[in-house]
Symmetry: C2
Subunit: 333 residues, 2 copies
Amino acid sequence: MPNGRNRQILLVEKPAGKLAPTHFRMAEGDIPAPKDGEVLLRVRYISLDAANRAWMHGATYRSAVEANTVMAGGAIAEVVESKAPGFSPGDIVFGDTGWQDFAAVPARHLSQMPRLKPLTHLLSVYGIAGLTAYFGLLEVGRPKAGETVVVSAAAGSVGSMVGQIAKIKGCRVIGIAGGAEKCRWLTSELGFDAAVDYKGGNLYKDLKAATPNGIDVYFDNVGGDILEACISRMNLYGRIACCGAISQYDGVPSATGPRGVPGLIVVKRLTMQGFIVMDYMDQRERALADLQAWVAAGQLKVQEDVIAGLENTPQALIGLLAGENRGKRMIAV
Amino acid sequence: MPNGRNRQILLVEKPAGKLAPTHFRMAEGDIPAPKDGEVLLRVRYISLDAANRAWMHGATYRSAVEANTVMAGGAIAEVVESKAPGFSPGDIVFGDTGWQDFAAVPARHLSQMPRLKPLTHLLSVYGIAGLTAYFGLLEVGRPKAGETVVVSAAAGSVGSMVGQIAKIKGCRVIGIAGGAEKCRWLTSELGFDAAVDYKGGNLYKDLKAATPNGIDVYFDNVGGDILEACISRMNLYGRIACCGAISQYDGVPSATGPRGVPGLIVVKRLTMQGFIVMDYMDQRERALADLQAWVAAGQLKVQEDVIAGLENTPQALIGLLAGENRGKRMIAV
C-alpha cells in the first residue's frame, strides 16, 4: 500500500439552486485498504460531465449522490494493489472512483482499458463522450447522407464529435454553441457547415437561416428553449436523439417542457428517443474501431480541456455547466 | 343531376377560444355539377374527429380550413354522377366532402369502399379510427404480451379500439377517460383491466394505483397534463405513440409542453413517436383483415354514436371536443 494521505472532495450540501464552490470541501483521509474483490486505484484523470450535476437532483440512471460523501465521478485510474482476479498493479481502468487521489473499488464495477497514448483519449474520444456521440448519432439519430444534422452544446465533448461524425457520414452539420468564438471554432477548425450562437439573442431567426432545408436529425444535449426551437424546424419524419438536458441541470428544474410537444411530434411524425450510452456497450468494439480509424485519418479532431489539480475539480465542473469548456474537460489529478 | 338544394354548413369565423355554434352557419346552394375528373357525391355519414378542430389552427398534415367556406370533414358518400373513370353511380366512397348534402370532388381524392353493412363501420372500425388504433398501437407502440398499455380518450373512437386490440395482444390495459360512467363501461363492456377517471381530481394517484408495474406503452390522444402524468409512470424503454392532442385543440394552445421532456425521456430511454394513419396505408389490407376477423370473433366490439341531421353537425363536434361521445361519433346526413 502506498504511503501518504488521500485527498478527497466532499459534496457537503446538495445545491437547491446554482452549484457553487461552497457546496464542496476538501478533506483528507487514509489511503483505503482494498477488501477481497476490490482494487486499490490511483486516480489519474477525473472526467467532468454535465451529468455530475444531474446526479445531485436524485436518482437518474444511477443512484443520487449524497451530501457529506466523496463526490461521485468517473475517472481513468491505475491499479496500485489488487485483491481481485484479472486486475494487476499497473493496469489502466475506468470506473467511478469519485473525486479523490485513491479509491478502493469493487472490481466488478471497473472496466480494463488499453494503455494507449495519450491516456486522456480514454476519457474523450474513446471514452463515454466519444461513444455517446457515436451511438446517439448513428443508432438513435440515424442520419442519411445529405440530411441536415443539428447538435447543441456543439463545442462540448459530445457535441464536437457528433458534428464531426455527421460530416464523415455526408451530412450538412450545424452546431449550436454559446459565443461567437466557439462558433467560429466549429466552422473553421471542426468543419461544421454553420454555427448558431444561442447567446446572440436571435435563436429562432439564426437557426432558421442556418437550416434552410429544415432539420432531419437533432442531437439534443440541452433541452429547454433550444430543444423547443429545434422542434419548430424539424422536417417530416425527423429524429431527435435525447442525450441530456444541460440547461435544466444547474438550478431548479424547469416547471414546463418544450412547446410543440406533442402537437408538432404528431403533425411532423417526429421521433424523440432518449438513450444512455451503456445500452450500446455490446457494440463497443465496432465503435472504437471506427473512432480510431477516423482519428488516424485526421477526419476526427480530438479536443481536450485538461485542468491540473484535484483541488480545482469543483470550479472546473461549475465552469463546464456555464459552458466555458471546449471539448472534453477533465482533471489531471 | 338530382333536383333540389344543397344544404351546407359554413365555418364563418376561426375560433380564437372555445368552439361555439356561432362559429358556423347553415347555407343553401345549388347542387354542384361535377367537372371532368370529378364525381358528384351524396353525403351519407360525416365523420366527427377532434382533428377537425385542429385544422382551424392552421396547416397541420393538411392545409388549414378557412373562414366562410364549407367546413371540411371526411365522410362516407354515394356516387350520384361520375365524370371520372373508375367511379359509377351507386359506388360507396370515402373522401373529404365537407359538411354538406352534396359535393363535387376530384376522383383522385376519393377512396372506393366496399358496400358492407352497416355502412357506419366504414367510418369506425374499418375507417380512419380503426386503422389509426391498429397502426398506432401495433407499429408505433409495439406492445408485447404481458406489458402494460395505457390509452387516453379511451372511450373515444380510437381509444376504445386501442384498448381492445391491446387486450387481444395479451397486454394489461388501462384506459383514461372522463367520468365514472365511461370508466365503468371500459372495464365492464370492453374488457379493460382498469380505468382512470381524469375528472376525478386524483390523476397522478389514480394512475399510479392502476399501473403498479408502470407503463410500457402509452397511446396518447390528448397531450397536456395526462401526457405529463403518463411520462412520469413510464418504464425503461417505454414507447409513447403520439396520436393527437385533444386537450390542446379547443382553445388557445398551451404555452408550454409537458414536464419531464426531455429529462425523463433520457433517463428512462423513452421513445415518443408521432404518426399519421396515412403513412401506413400500404399495409391497409392486412389491417382490415385482422380487424374483420376480430369483429367476427366478437373480440372487438364496435361502439358508434350516430346523430341524425346535418344541422346537428356543429353541436356534435363541440360535444365531441368536450368528451361527451362514446365510440365513433358521426352524423347521418
